[in-house]
Symmetry: C2
Subunit: 435 residues, 2 copies
């Protein structure tokens, strides 16, 4: 017996997959019972430099030598982006091939169409590598914790932003400095928008929400906020309050019951929590099952070999069932037989603690005016740090932690405080009190 | 369709399993595609008090109403210990029933016989709950990281001892005080031997080694050392050196190549490592895959519902395949088609850093005599703390960290130092430098 694999795309991750299949052939056969064989690899340019050189004759520029080729049983899509990846995946499924992919952007935006097709033709689509690299979080939600009602999940899902945040936090770099450094070191792309604005992490959060709750949220229904507005001074104030700032993705049932609350924004976490110790390009997820309690997973969230580790793990799983037409032998693609159409709670209804930093004129009556506005909007202050003037401009930082408040009340109060002549700027970072 | 489940044993975990199957029936059917049904439960005493009361008529004191009953498809063994659990599991497999168990003691000592029988009759034995409670570490090794050569794994695998160690470390309790407190709080048993001497963690380590390396070590071949000899002062010295002490289970390939090195003993870890932040009854595992990098998992290692979470997760997985006779559709029981018979490296060959605490007479020449002995045994000192006399007895603690040394050299040197008149006591704690 033999399972044949075709690759679509042969960049960084594709090279890692080819390398693992080649160099760990014996190990894989020891576990699977038979070998994997790399059959064909679609590339754009036959002569480009590659991280791992496959056997001669395996490369092709013709998609139909992989997709629909009866000598390829499992198609591994590593092109990324929506097209041509989507069309090729749909065509592979129609041809009876199983699909393994690392394409979070595609699944988060066009997943339903792909999953529907896979279910029609009784084929599997696996995507462990699409979320948090080498960390087996998809499997954990689909299989390990499948008997749990998931009360909440919290994730650090983007290594680039976590690296930037770690440098801002530990070494007081500005966002611009930390970004430039990450770009120079190859941790951030020339156009860093997808990472620093939170889009990449939001794609992963959509998939995790589907696995946890059986609901695939629309990206537009999720509050997504990146890290571009963070200031080193916020990390220092956070530390004074006993917090660490992370770009945290969360999905939970509002008030433990519903509706589904899904959001991604800079968040203050208790400094002692395991998530707060996740630094650099690492990713991590805490999953709170009603029976399991908090399960915490962390590890490399990206990179050639960590991502390939998850891709090949999926190929091996699919290989076990590739001859079978019994779809019930594997968990459903998102862990649920049928997705629900529950809508996601609007961000305005979120009930959270807030860190507020207002740049104010250092003169009498300002704190009183601001706390009056907050009180009028049902926002109660838990702690305040007001420091005397330490510069010549007359502007100082007034920093507060609030008790839990409604996001919509908070936003209204911020608008009102910004109208005060004595307030130049008002920023907020949300506080996660349930960790 | 319906999958029927029989329980052997209805204590704490059994009650949790019955409760999950009953209360999460809808959720489970949403994921599996059909419901689980609790068919029969073997108990010792029909009238005993239970954490969850099953439907009338489900309880029986006759094992044959569960084992071999054609109306029970999956047998869930939660009795613990070797007999009658072993006989009942073998009989269930012979009768064509799949088995889910949380019985680490049985699998670590008689696993081969059970796995061989399961393979003969083409049935599955699943045991996620046997190691680290709710943490999906078995699945992670069998499936998520299956394409990896596992370079090392490090685990905190016993919640009772970790709770005791946490109290000793954070609040300077003695071992006896922390144990008594844990017993009063229900975290430790009246006879705590299996926990505090490391036997329970060693059972789990045997199973993890088999999953990681395809070798099921004999318990007698593993160096197992509990926490009874730890002293609060060692935690204080460890902190000065930047370490935290944990009862750490490790399995690795010696020098990255082999032989297999498996050991369990109090170990100093770098204070900043995630494992060092795992406190109280939590368990945690770091798995170092050659491709994945370090994957860290933590969560509740025991308890009614966390353990039930893993048991029911396994039942659901088995339910997907219970009608099929194709054994290749699931991963092999230990993740490998065929176990290897590699032997485990003797502890004397281990090459580790050591923390040494010698109680010595506070007089000239002692340090020189001791360092002479160490040097003669190829042991080089990295750091020393020697404090002036702070009591009236004349005895003081001389504390050292060594560079890497052979365990057998270290043991010989300790024997020699203990023979010095000026040395009353010499203790060691091993240092994990690869984290």
């Amino acid at each position: 017996m033999l399972t044949t694999v075709g690759l679509l795309g042969f960049g960084n991750v594709g090279s890692g997959v080819a390398k693992l299949i080649k160099t760990e052939g014996g190990l894989i056969a020891d576990k699977l019972g038979w070998p994997l064989k790399l059959a064909k690899c679609l590339v754009r340019d036959l002569n480009a430099a590659r991280g791992f050189e496959p056997e001669p004759g395996l490369l092709t520029t013709d998609p139909s030598e992989v997709v629909g080729n009866p000598e390829v049983q499992v198609v591994c899509e590593l092109i990324g982006g929506v097209e041509p990846a989507k069309t090729l995946i749909l065509r592979a499924l129609e041809a009876g091939q199983h699909v393994v992919t690392a394409n979070k952007a595609l699944l988060a935006t066009h997943g339903l169409e792909i999953f529907r097709k896979a279910s029609e033709v009784n084929r599997d689509v696996m995507f462990e590598a699409a979320v948090a690299g080498a960390i087996p979080v998809i499997r954990t939600l689909k299989e390990g914790l499948t008997a749990n009602r998931i009360q909440a999940l919290y994730g650090i899902l983007n290594g680039t932003t976590n690296h930037i945040i770690t440098r801002m936090s530990k070494d007081a770099l500005t966002f611009a400095e930390a970004l430039a450094e990450a770009q120079a070191a190859g941790f951030a792309e020339a156009d860093p928008t997808a990472d620093v604005e939170g889009h990449d992490a939001a794609h992963k959060l959509v998939l995790l929400s589907a696995l946890a709750y059986g609901v695939l949220p629309k990206l537009d229904d999720i509050h997504v906020e990146g890290i571009t507005k963070l200031d080193p001074i916020d990390f220092a104030f956070a530390a004074e309050f006993g917090y660490v700032i992370k770009l945290l993705a969360t999905a939970s049932l509002h008030n433990g019951q519903g509706p589904l609350e899904v959001r991604l924004h800079p968040t203050m976490l208790p400094a002692g929590h395991l998530l707060s110790g996740v630094n650099g390009v690492m990713n991590a997820i805490t999953i709170r099952g009603h029976a399991s309690g908090d399960i915490f997973l962390s590890g490399p969230g990206a990179g050639m070999m960590p991502t390939a580790s998850s891709v090949v793990g999926d190929i091996i799983e699919v290989a076990r069932t590739h001859q079978s037409l019994e779809s019930s032998l594997r968990p459903p693609i998102l862990g649920w037989r049928k997705l629900k159409s529950d809508s996601v709670m609007p961000m305005s209804e979120a009930l959270l603690g807030y860190y507020l930093r207002l740049t104010v004129l250092d003169r009498p009556g300002v704190l009183s005016a601001i706390s009056g506005i907050l009180g009028a909007h049902n926002i109660s202050i838990a702690q305040v740090i007001q420091r005397g003037q330490n510069n010549l401009t007359g502007w100082v930082d007034l920093v507060m932690l609030t008790h839990k408040a409604l996001e919509k009340d908070l936003q209204k109060a911020l608008v009102a405080t910004r109208e005060l002549e004595a307030v130049r700027e008002a920023r907020l970072i949300r506080v996660e009190e349930s960790l």
